[in-house]
Amino acid sequence: MSELEDLAESVVADGMSPGDGFDAALWATLAGTGLVRLTLAEEAGGSGGTHADATAVLDAVGAYGARVPLAETDVAAWLLHAAGLAVPDGPLAAVVAEPVIAGAAAHGEVAGVPYGRCAAGVAVLAGSSVVLVDPAGAGVMVTEGANLAEEPRDTLTLDGAAVAVAAAPDGAARELALRAALARAQLLAGAARGALARSVRYAGERVQFGRPIGRFQAVQQQLALAAAEVAAVRAAAGAAAAAADREGFDAAATALAVAAAKARAGEAAGAVARIAHQVHGAIGFTREHDLRLVTTRLWAWRDEDGAEAFWQAELGERALAAGPDGLWPLLTGGP
């Protein structure tokens, strides 16, 4: 493990509080360690880290099922900064929606906002504008919702809400989709690792027929299959982050890498969650066991920021456009 991975792992493991909802204590620790707004430029108040750095940190967040919108905040901070808007302190979210903007007031619904109820700001990409909404401000009603992992996914109803508005940077919709998908793939890599680590441990502790179930080849084979999936999603997320660091999000190679990483991560998510639950037996299917913290995230996250179907369709389109002579060059396009 790298130094940053070790740091993130210990900050998350030591700093998590039990319970439900936003983990404000962990957030404060992460902020104090400089792990919040990791990839945002230093002049904008970020840590100026790389996407490879983010892979290490989001891996820990995913592996422990930490209740903090770290990935979402990083993406939103980018969008706000790129649009020239001030980046508020605290957790942030970025979503695409179409509220009606009249001057500095907004009307309409903004759905699926991660941690909307406790966000310090929500960056809404509305056509060619970026709109910064304060969910706690006047004219905003928050309707609480949640994904499969009980992570807040709220709806903001704007009724004359005061907002800051700026022109969206060129290609903002595309870059937002790619950044969000990359971050989600990085989180999925962590959740998959967390599910495998718990399963390996459980298989070594749970005794049936007079020996740990991990001694049975049938169980070993399943865990090895899960390990292969964990390796695949980790490799894919890591390589996509490296592509983004090297070439930026405008590059065709980065788009291919992110699409492939999110599609592959989604496949791995289902396979790893299934094996983890099978190995854990009935106890893993209960609320008292913490396996659910990672498996429900695997199920929720594979469908967020573009499910496999979405990114596979894009990749299929690119393969068809490349044709027989262009497919291999497409795959080997990056270094």
Binding site: Q217, A224, A227, A228, A236, A263, R264, G316, P324
Partner: protein, 391 residues
């Protein structure tokens, strides 16, 4: 919260090919395009088993693309494993006939550099780099497949060397190769240490006492052989490495064998042919997704395989990661066939000269081997399970 159980490294950090390989890649592509335009061969599936073409191997050698990692003093080119990676992935993706030199170039050269004597290196490496000296693999036996440590081929001490008696099987290309490394028992089996008492010998296949018989594949094609030793005398100078260290040597040879591009590209030419057939047709979204799913898996496998190559290149032996690449990669080779059949309802035709129907036939008929050779996927998963502390 309690810290999670530490898992072993299942995939090395991302590796990138150095920019210098772009020119090399372009040269290889240009050469392959010329060969194809001249009709020198047709793209096939599973070419590293079945595409034996000595002219082609010598052409590659003439361009400096064999024995790339062998030092120049032994006739090689002193380049990195990543340069070799680029050449091999280009050849496999094109479905080019690489079988003749495959084993020699992939594992015999590196193994001789690691364990061979100066005399052995001078004897074989220049021929390997020239595309003129071909090797087989002498590991499996009729009663020893996955359980390789149970080999019964015996090497008895004789004056000036060792006399080998026993039988090796599934030796691809033995009827055309010049030599192979035979794994044999040099001390009686010890149940307390099953890996002790094994040694490797360089056996030249025209030696007296060697009998080679074909074992036709299910297609009837002759690639596999049975190689029988009847008191074959191997002189001391052809002992590979140390007597008794055979197990260690063989397992380090396998690390080179398990994670290369041949573990996920065996059926890639079928995907290329599929795209050729699909050109201009209308597609539903389901078909695009099937195709895109293959692209996502293939892209990921290539990044994993490159990560292992980068790790090998910097002197590590990522055994678990190599096992994982082979397990996922060989399953992908099969999945590609499934998708091709769903997207294009053209029956396989083993009698066709080339094209999709022929590639499909070869791919289907060769598929059972993908998940067997180089260690069955079940054995590989056992290695991964052991790495995670389960056994």
């Amino acid at each position: 919260m309690e810290t999670l159980t530490r898992l072993p490294v299942l995939v090395p950090p991302p590796a990138e090919l150095p920019p210098r390989v772009a020119a090399l890649r372009a040269e290889v592509r240009e050469f392959l395009a010329e060969e194809l335009a001249a009709g020198a061969w047709r793209p096939r599936a599973d070419v590293w088993l079945s595409g034996w073409d000595e002219r082609f191997s010598k052409e590659l050698a003439r361009r400096g693309w064999l024995g790339m990692t062998i030092p120049t003093e032994y006739g090689g080119h002193g380049r990195s494993a990543l340069d070799r990676y680029v050449v091999t992935e280009e050849l496999l993706a094109a479905g080019a006939p690489v079988a003749a030199h495959w084993v020699a170039d992939r594992q015999i050269g590196p193994t001789l550099m690691r364990f061979g004597t100066e005399e052995q290196r001078r004897r074989y490496l220049p021929g390997i780099a020239a595309g003129e000296c071909y090797f087989g693999i002498g590991m499996s036996e009729p009663d020893s497949g996955s359980d390789l440590a149970s080999v019964r081929t015996r090497a008895d001490r004789v004056d000036g060397g060792w006399a080998l008696t026993g039988t090796k099987v599934w030796t691809s290309g033995a009827h055309r190769a010049h030599a192979f490394f035979a794994l044999a028992r040099t001390a009686p089996r010890d149940e307390g240490d099953r890996h002790a008492g094994l040694s490797q010998f360089i056996v030249e296949l025209d030696s007296p006492g060697v009998a080679i018989r074909p074992i036709p594949l299910l297609t009837g094609a002759h690639h596999f052989n049975e190689v029988v030793f009847d008191g074959v005398v191997v002189p001391d100078e052809l002992v590979l490495g140390e007597i008794g260290a055979g197990w260690h040597q063989v397992t380090s040879e396998l690390a080179f064998e398990r994670s290369g591009p041949e573990r996920y590209l065996s059926t890639f030419p079928l995907l290329v042919a599929l795209l050729g057939e699909l050109g201009g047709r209308e597609f539903d979204s389901g078909s695009r997704r099937e195709l895109g799913g293959l692209v996502a898996r293939l892209w990921t496998l290539r990044r994993m395989s490159l990560a292992v190559a980068g790790s090998l290149d910097s002197g590590h032996a990522p055994e678990l990661a190599a096992a994982v690449v082979k397990d996922l990669g060989t399953r992908f080779e099969n999945e590609l066939i499934d998708v091709a059949r769903v997207l294009l309802a053209v029956p396989p035709d083993p009698g066709a000269e080339g094209g999709f129907a022929r590639l499909l036939a070869d791919a289907v008929l060769h598929a059972p081997g993908f998940t067997l050779r180089g260690g069955t996927n079940e054995v590989l998963r056992g290695i991964v399970a052991r790495g995670m502390g389960l056994r």
